[in-house]
């Protein structure tokens, strides 16, 4: 009998991980012992947190914590099923009703995560013979969603409406459906997509609009209602996609739009249909987050006061903070090595902010990305600013 040499089924796991380590590309997971707080304990060291998405510090808000506990007490720890079969609890539908009201849209739907929205819904909205037109700097989860479709893809230059119009003109002749997708707030630079203009162009060409407002939800627009409110075009963007994981301080993805959109989405999105629904505690906290945003405007105000102060001071030191219009403030230092060094030194001095380098941003635009938090005091900001100034001078950045 011939001896068959079996392949080593698991060898690649170690090989590929080792390769990542060799190239310094592996994730070094940092452990937060404190929860995500303005002052967090990261890998055993107390630091001022400038890289969480917990913009409004709602994850620590007593009403959200209580909302989670009360919902767990009332409905239990888990939901028991996927939404489509027996996992839709009353509290899920309550969140959706409240969310639609908050977003000033006809309807809304909660997904398990933001990624589940993009990878589940986009492939249903377009197919063969259609085209997705996408900003060149869109976030990875959008790109993955688009890769799952049989539709053609076309890119337009970042926030460039003339370029979008050129692509639309070409697409108009060739395709059945046209879907324009853009991030609302771009997470590397903190700039905002001109959704008012995108919607106007889309209407001219009969195209559908889809915005990923993950970094705008809870941050921009009246009381943090997001990009629709920011441009006063609530209900006019066909799909407003967002997340409960960032400023809302909980977890979960969402869409807001027409009832037709919601009916279509939950019947067709495989990610929604095939994942277990949120545990009641998550929904309880989501509900409380909407309550807080509707009744306590001070959180959004403080976030912006902090942002404006921090930006102004950084600029006065001579730092380049790019084109940011939001609480994401890049501190552009240029060289990748310098950005990494600055980040390490900041951590040593008690400030936690991560470097972003090529190819996530251009080679000469390496940076520290800071994300503001409403829970930080002026004293905290002055402490962080003092470190930025000192290290910026030490490293000859300013």
């Amino acid at each position: 009998m011939t001896q068959i040499t079996k392949r080593n089924a698991n060898k690649f796991l170690k090989d590929e991980f080792d390769e990542l380590v060799r190239n310094h590309l592996e994730w070094n997971i940092r452990i937060l012992e404190s929860g995500s707080k303005p002052h967090s304990i990261v890998n055993g060291k107390e630091v001022i947190m400038l890289c969480s998405n917990n913009y409004l510090n709602l994850s620590n808000h007593p009403r959200l914590i209580k909302g989670a506990i009360d919902a767990a007490n009332k409905y239990g720890a888990g939901s028991g099923s996927v939404r489509g079969i027996a996992g839709t609890l009353k509290i899920h539908t309550e969140v959706e009703k409240r969310l639609a009201k908050f977003k000033r849209t006809e309807s809304a739907l909660i997904y398990q995560t933001g990624f589940a929205v993009n990878s589940g819904l986009i492939p249903q909205l377009v197919g063969e013979g259609d085209v997705v037109i996408s900003d060149e700097l869109n976030h990875g989860s959008i790109i993955d969603g688009v890769r799952l479709t049989k539709a053609d893809r076309a890119i337009f230059k970042h926030r460039d409406m003339s370029d979008l119009e050129r692509v639309l003109k070409d697409a108009d002749k060739k395709y059945r459906r046209i879907l324009i997708i853009s991030d609302g707030v771009f997470s590397m630079d903190g700039d905002i997509a001109p959704m008012d203009k995108i919607v106007k162009l889309a209407n001219e060409f009969g195209a559908m609009t889809y915005v990923d407002d993950a970094h705008g939800e809870g941050v921009i627009g009246e009381d943090g209602r997001g990009i629709g409110a920011h441009f006063h075009i609530e209900g006019k963007i066909d799909v407003e996609m967002g997340t409960f994981s960032k400023a809302f301080g909980v977890v979960g993805g969402l869409i807001a739009g027409s009832q037709d959109l919601v009916n279509f989405a939950y019947n067709k999105s495989r990610t929604w249909l095939l994942s277990g629904s949120h545990p009641p505690a998550v929904s309880g906290a989501q509900l409380a987050a909407i309550d807080v945003l509707e009744t306590e405007p001070e959180h959004v105000k403080r976030l912006w006061d902090n942002t404006n102060y921090f930006k102004k001071e950084l600029k006065s030191f001579g730092f380049n903070t790019g084109e940011s219009e939001t609480p994401i403030t890049p501190v552009i230092v240029g060289d990748a090595g310098k950005a990494k060094e600055l980040s390490n030194k900041l951590y040593d001095e008690g400030v936690f902010a991560l470097p972003i380098v090529f190819p996530m941003v251009a080679r000469d635009k390496a940076r520290i990305r800071t994300m503001m938090n409403a829970g930080l005091t002026k004293k905290d900001l002055d402490f962080a600013l003092d470190k930025f100034e000192k290290l910026g001078k030490q490293l000859s950045i300013i």
Binding site: L25, E136, G140, I143, A151, D152, R153, A154, I155, F156, D163, R166, V167, D170, I356, P359, M360, R363
Partner: protein, 380 residues
């Protein structure tokens, strides 16, 4: 990590330009008589000076070069001392033979890159020796610089060299193009594609994780383009496709198991080669039998020409008959980084005007992925 750079200057490159000659190939005496002065040394020194302003550890870079103005003098001027001279030209006025002989000597030392200063003629001479053995980078100094191996300016070349020494750039195809000078002096302007060398290019990155990117090789990107073209061939089954010149189209054809002429145009029908290396006359003949045609082409050379430099078989008459809407332009994204504007120069003003009115072209840059690129019709 240490890098070995072969460095070669063609001291007479570019001398014809200011005195109205389209090159110095074969006409150096005439150029000198007309008062031409050498400019290559100055260009090379400009570039080297730029390079020396970057934070580079010069001890890690070994320069392998030639004596006199063919490299050593330029390195001396900017104070680069870690060098090795491996060739001395025979006479004070150097010739194409000097370039070729120096190249052979440099090649024997197995450098990582050959940096040269000259024009298309110099690039061609070097290519005859080097072929695809090592990558080439050109400091623009000639009269003609259509080849894809040149930096756009001396500063751009210095930056590319820096990125190469830092191992941030990768190796990809670069076209060697040149004016047919004998034809030119008879009054005909024809830029031909002479071959595909190795150049240095910006890699294409794909996002594979939240902040994890992988660079993909140029060949992988071209495989994706081939998948796209395969879909098009299957969609337009009763159309003839003209596979034009250049490395990108050649790669696509090979991936689809279609025989292809690297430096020529082939006619393809239902995924099979219909006619090989066709000229204008043959294309016009084929058009009678196959009236529905798609032209598949890719920008070639440093200046992003899709029509008018190389692909000369696509005469205005051919393009008019096929129709602008039936031109499919494919390109690797790395190529568009260096040539963000595409150019046409068909030789027919009315046709050029139609392209100019269009202003932009959709370019396929990946599988079912395209973007708009600006189109210019100014002549170079």
């Amino acid at each position: 990590m240490s890098v070995k750079i072969g460095f070669l200057v063609n001291p007479i490159a570019g001398m014809g330009g200011r005195v109205g000659l389209k090159g110095t190939d074969d006409v150096l005496d005439e150029a000198v008589k007309l008062g031409a002065h050498p400019i290559a040394r100055q260009k090379a020194e400009e570039m080297l000076q730029q390079f020396c302003t970057f934070p580079v550890n010069h001890a890690d870079i070994l320069w392998v070069t030639c004596d006199g103005d063919m490299g050593n003098n330029e390195l001396e001027t900017v104070g680069i001392t870690n060098k090795q001279i491996i060739y001395a030209p025979s006479e004070s006025t150097t010739s194409a033979d000097d370039t070729k002989n120096a190249c052979k000597k440099i090649l024997e030392t197995s450098p990582d890159l050959l940096l040269f200063c000259g024009g298309d003629g110099t690039a061609r001479d070097i290519f005859t020796v080097l072929d695809k053995k090592i990558p080439l980078l050109g400091i623009p100094s000639g009269v003609k610089m259509h080849s894809g191996v040149f930096g756009i300016t001396t500063t751009a070349t210095a930056k590319m060299l820096l990125e190469f020494t830092n191992k941030r750039l990768t190796v990809g195809d670069a076209e060697i193009m040149d004016l047919d000078e004998a034809l030119y002096r008879k009054g005909e302007w024809k830029v031909r594609l002479y071959g595909i060398a190795k150049g240095i290019i910006e890699p294409t990155y794909i996002q594979v994780g939240k902040s994890l990117f992988e660079s993909v090789s140029d060949d992988e990107v071209k495989d994706e383009l081939a998948d796209h073209v395969k879909d098009e061939l299957e969609k337009y089954t009763d159309w003839m496709f003209l596979f034009c010149t250049g490395g990108t189209i050649d790669h696509i054809a090979k991936k689809l198991n279609i025989e292809h002429t690297l430096l020529g145009i082939d006619a393809v029908y239902q995924k099979k080669l219909l006619a090989k290396d066709v000229n204008e006359e043959k294309i016009l003949q084929l058009l009678k039998k196959y009236p529905k045609v798609k032209i598949l082409l890719s920008p070639i050379g440093a200046q992003g020409f899709i029509l008018g430099r190389g692909n000369l078989q696509l005469s205005p008459e051919v393009i008019n008959k096929i129709g602008l809407e039936n031109i499919i332009v494919v390109s690797t994204p790395s190529k568009l980084i260096h040539t963000p504007i595409l150019r046409v120069d068909t030789g027919d003003k009315r046709l050029d005007h139609r392209f100019a009115t269009q202003g932009y072209l959709m370019v396929v840059i990946g599988y079912r992925l395209s973007r708009v690129v600006r189109l210019q019709t100014n002549n170079f």
